[in-house]
C-alpha cells in the first residue's frame, strides 16, 4: 500500500478576480521507504503539492490518502493530529525556537502529542543521538552551526517516529559539505523504514534520491527512477581529498 496516494488532485486559488490553478488533476503515489525528490521552478506547483501532502492545505478536488487514511476533508484540528502523528517536517530555514535548548526544540511535537515529560526527555535525547548531537542537548540554536541546527530540526521531525518526512529545501541554507552530511542522514532514514519526500531545485541534491519527480505548470512533467548516489561514499572520499579551508 502506498504511503502517499493522490488521485486527480487539483488546487485552485482565488487571487482577486483571477483563478490560479496551482495543481491540475495530479495523480501521484509514493511507496513506503522510498526517497523521492520533487523538483521544479517556482510557480510549478511543487510547493502546493508539498503543502497538500503535508496536510497543511486541502485540495480543491480529488482524493488524498495518507497512510491509508483519506485526509482531504478533515478539519484543521484533525489535520493537526495527522501532522503530529504521521508526519515530520524539515524546513530550509530550520524553524527552531530561539532561546530554547536543542532538547526542548526536539520535544515540541511530543508536547502536543501529550507525552509525559520523562518519556519526552528520553525520546528527544535518543532522536538527538541518532543525528549525532548527543553531546549538544543543552545548546541553543544560536550556539550551533547551520548544519547542527538542521540536524536538530531532523531530530524534531524524527522524534514522533513518523511514517513520512517532508523536507522543503533542507540544504538551501547549507554549504555543500554539510548538505551531503544531511543527505546521508536522509538516506539512513530510508533504510530505517521512513519515507522521505524532498523538495529541491539543485540537481546535485536530487541525485541522492532514488526517484525524481519534476513539476511544471501544475502537472507532473516527468517521473524517473534512478540509482541514488551514496552520500556516505561522497563523505568518505571528500574527507580524504579535500583540504580544510584556510
Amino acid at each position: 500500500m502506498p504511503i502517499i496516494d493522490l488521485k486527480t488532485v487539483s488546487k485552485v486559488y482565488q487571487m482577486g478576480d483571477v483563478e490560479v490553478r496551482a495543481l491540475r488533476e495530479v495523480s501521484f503515489a509514493v511507496e513506503t521507504r522510498d526517497f523521492v525528490a520533487v523538483m521544479g521552478s517556482s510557480g510549478s506547483g511543487k510547493s502546493t503539492l508539498m503543502n497538500i501532502i503535508g496536510c497543511l492545505d486541502r485540495p480543491t478536488s480529488g482524493a488524498y490518502h495518507l497512510d491509508g487514511q483519506e485526509v482531504s476533508r478533515l478539519d484543521r484540528s484533525q489535520l493537526a493530529h495527522v501532522r503530529n502523528r504521521t508526519l515530520g517536517f524539515v524546513f530550509q530555514s530550520f524553524n527552531l525556537l530561539s532561546r530554547t535548548s536543542a532538547l526542548e526544540n526536539v520535544e515540541l511535537p511530543l508536547v502536543y502529542a501529550g507525552t509525559a515529560a520523562r518519556e519526552r526527555h528520553r525520546r528527544a535525547s535518543a532522536a538527538l543521538g541518532r543525528v549525532g548531537l548527543a553531546k549538544r542537548l543543552d545548546h541553543h540554536p544560536n550556539q550551533m552551526s547551520g548544519g547542527q541546527q538542521q540536524r536538530v530540526a531532523i531530530a524534531r521531525a524524527l522524534v514522533t517516529e513518523p511514517r513520512l518526512i517532508l523536507a522543503d529545501e533542507p540544504t538551501g541554507n547549507l554549504d555543500s559539505q554539510t548538505s551531503i552530511e544531511i543527505m546521508a542522514l536522509f538516506q539512513e532514514l530510508g533504510s530505517a523504514g521512513i519515507t522521505v519526500l524532498l523538495v529541491t531545485h539543485e540537481p546535485d541534491i536530487a541525485a541522492y534520491a532514488s526517484r525524481v519527480v519534476v513539476m511544471r505548470d501544475g502537472v507532473v512533467k516527468s517521473d524517473t527512477r534512478q540509482t541514488p548516489r551514496r552520500a556516505s561514499d561522497d563523505l568518505r572520499s571528500g574527507a580524504a581529498q579535500e583540504e580544510p579551508p584556510p
Partner: protein, 409 residues
C-alpha cells in the same frame, strides 16, 4: 497538551521579555495597587466610625422628654420633664423588643479627692445602663440594684476622672470622692472607652445610683424622671420595631391623640451611623469606578502587547501548528499568557497596595483594614481583564494559516 504544559510555555514566553511584560502590566499593577491602598484606608476609617458607634452601645435608643408649648412658644426636646418613672417601668414591662431600659439623670458637678478637684458630668442611673452601653469595669464593681434601694453613697468613675483626681496609675477603688461636699466611696473604675465620633470623651464622667442622685445631688419631682431613658433593643434589627412600640406606648400613656405632637422623642443612633456610612459608601463607589477605568486601560495595554506578540511570533505559531498544535492549543497558549500577565499584575498590585497602605497608615496614624474579599475581587477582576482582552489576540493567532505563518518574515 495538559494545562500545566500550557502554563509553563506561557511563563517562558513572558519571562523571555521581562521588561516588556513588566511594562505591560504596570497599568494593572498601579490600578490595583492604588485601589487596594485606598480601600484599606477607607475601610479603616469606616471601621473606626462603626467602632465609635458601637462603643456608644449598639441597639441603642434614647427617649428624650418632651417639648413645651407655653402660649405658643415651643421649647425644644428636654425643656420639660414629661417622662415619668412609671413610663420607664412600663417600657421595661410591656415592650417586647426592649431588653434593657435605664434612666440617665445628668448634671455637672465638681468632684474632689483629698488634694485634687475636677469638674465633670455626674450621671444618676441603674445597673442596666452599663449593659446597654456595653461598658464593663476595669477594677472594682458596677452599681448594684441594692445600691439604688439603699441610696448608697457610692460612685463608679470613668478613667479620665480617675486620672485627674488620683493620678494616672492610681487605684481609685476604696477611695473617697466628694460630690457637692458629700463623700462618696469609689466602688469601681470603668474600662477605657475613648472618644465619640464627635470628640466627646466617654471616660470623663462619674456614675451614682439614681436614687442617691435624686436625694443628694439634684432633687427633682418625685413622679417625673428629670433626664432621659436609655433603651437597649434585643438586637440591632429590632431597634426600628422597638422605636415604634415605645412611641405608641408613650403616646397612649400620655394620652396624645392622633394628629397631636409627641411630648417626647425617640432618637435612634443607627440612623446617625447610617448617615456616616453613606459617606464612606460613596467613597467606595468612587474607588470602584477608578479601579474599573484603570483595569480597562491596563486591559487595552495587554491586548496591544499580545497583538504585537502574535505578529512577532507568527513563524513560531506556524511551526507549532506544523508539528501538531491544534488551533485550540494556540488559542489557549495566548489566552493563558494574557491571563498570567494580568493575574500576576493583580497580585503584584495587591502586594504594593497593602505595603503602601501600611506605610501611609503608620506614617499618618490612619487606621487601615485589608478586606480579604477586596483582595480576591481585585485579583479576580485582573484575571477577567486578561481573559477578555487576551481573547481577540489569541483568536487571531489560532486562525493563522500555518503555510503563511511559516513563510512570514
Amino acid at each position: 497538551m495538559n494545562p500545566f504544559e500550557t502554563l509553563r510555555v506561557a511563563l517562558r514566553a513572558l519571562l523571555r521579555n521581562k521588561m516588556r511584560s513588566f511594562l505591560t502590566v504596570l497599568g494593572i499593577i498601579i490600578g490595583v495597587g492604588a485601589v487596594i491602598a485606598m480601600v484599606a484606608i477607607g475601610e479603616g476609617a469606616k471601621a473606626r466610625v462603626e467602632e465609635s458607634f458601637a462603643s456608644m452601645g449598639s441597639n441603642l435608643l434614647i427617649v428624650m422628654p418632651g417639648s413645651t408649648n407655653a402660649s405658643g412658644a415651643r421649647g425644644g426636646f428636654g425643656s420639660m420633664p414629661t417622662l415619668t418613672w412609671d413610663d420607664l417601668q412600663a417600657i421595661r414591662r410591656e415592650v417586647s423588643s426592649v431588653r434593657y431600659a435605664a434612666a440617665q439623670l445628668r448634671t455637672n458637678a465638681q468632684l474632689m479627692s483629698e488634694d485634687q478637684n475636677w469638674s465633670t458630668s455626674v450621671t444618676g442611673t441603674s445597673p442596666e445602663y452599663f449593659l446597654i452601653r456595653n461598658w464593663k469595669v476595669a477594677s472594682g464593681r458596677q452599681l448594684l440594684d441594692s445600691d439604688i434601694e439603699t441610696s448608697a453613697k457610692v460612685v463608679v468613675l470613668g478613667q479620665t476622672v480617675v486620672d485627674k483626681l488620683f493620678g494616672a496609675s492610681a487605684d481609685a477603688v476604696g477611695q473617697i470622692v466628694r460630690i457637692k461636699n458629700i463623700p462618696f466611696e469609689v466602688v469601681g473604675v470603668l474600662e477605657k472607652k475613648g472618644q465619640s465620633a464627635m470628640g466627646q470623651d466617654y471616660d470623663d464622667g462619674a456614675f451614682v445610683p439614681q436614687s442617691t442622685f435624686q436625694s443628694k445631688i439634684q432633687g427633682g419631682l418625685q413622679k417625673f424622671l428629670s433626664g432621659t431613658i436609655f433603651i437597649g433593643a434585643i438586637s440591632t434589627d429590632a431597634t426600628a420595631r422597638a422605636e415604634e412600640q415605645i412611641e405608641s406606648l408613650l403616646r397612649d400613656r400620655h394620652r396624645i391623640g392622633p394628629g397631636m405632637d409627641d411630648d417626647f422623642s425617640v432618637r435612634n443612633l443607627t440612623e446617625m451611623a447610617n448617615a456616616q456610612q453613606e459617606g464612606t459608601r460613596t467613597l467606595t463607589t468612587l474607588l470602584a469606578s477608578i479601579a474599573a477605568v484603570s483595569l480597562l486601560v491596563g486591559g487595552i495595554g495587554i491586548m496591544n502587547i499580545m497583538l504585537v506578540s502574535v505578529t512577532e511570533r507568527t513563524r513560531e505559531i506556524g511551526l507549532r501548528m506544523a508539528v501538531g498544535a491544534t488551533p485550540f492549543n494556540i488559542l489557549l497558549q495566548f489566552l493563558v499568557e494574557a491571563l498570567t500577565l494580568a493575574t500576576a499584575g493583580g497580585i503584584v498590585g495587591v502586594l504594593i497596595g497593602v505595603f503602601s497602605a501600611g506605610q501611609l497608615a503608620s506614617r499618618f496614624g490612619w487606621p487601615m483594614l485589608i478586606r480579604p474579599d477586596i483582595v480576591v475581587i481585585s485579583v479576580g477582576f485582573s484575571a477577567l481583564v486578561g481573559v477578555v482582552f487576551g481573547l481577540y489576540p489569541a483568536q487571531k493567532a489560532s486562525r493563522l494559516d500555518p503555510i503563511d505563518a511559516l513563510r512570514y518574515e
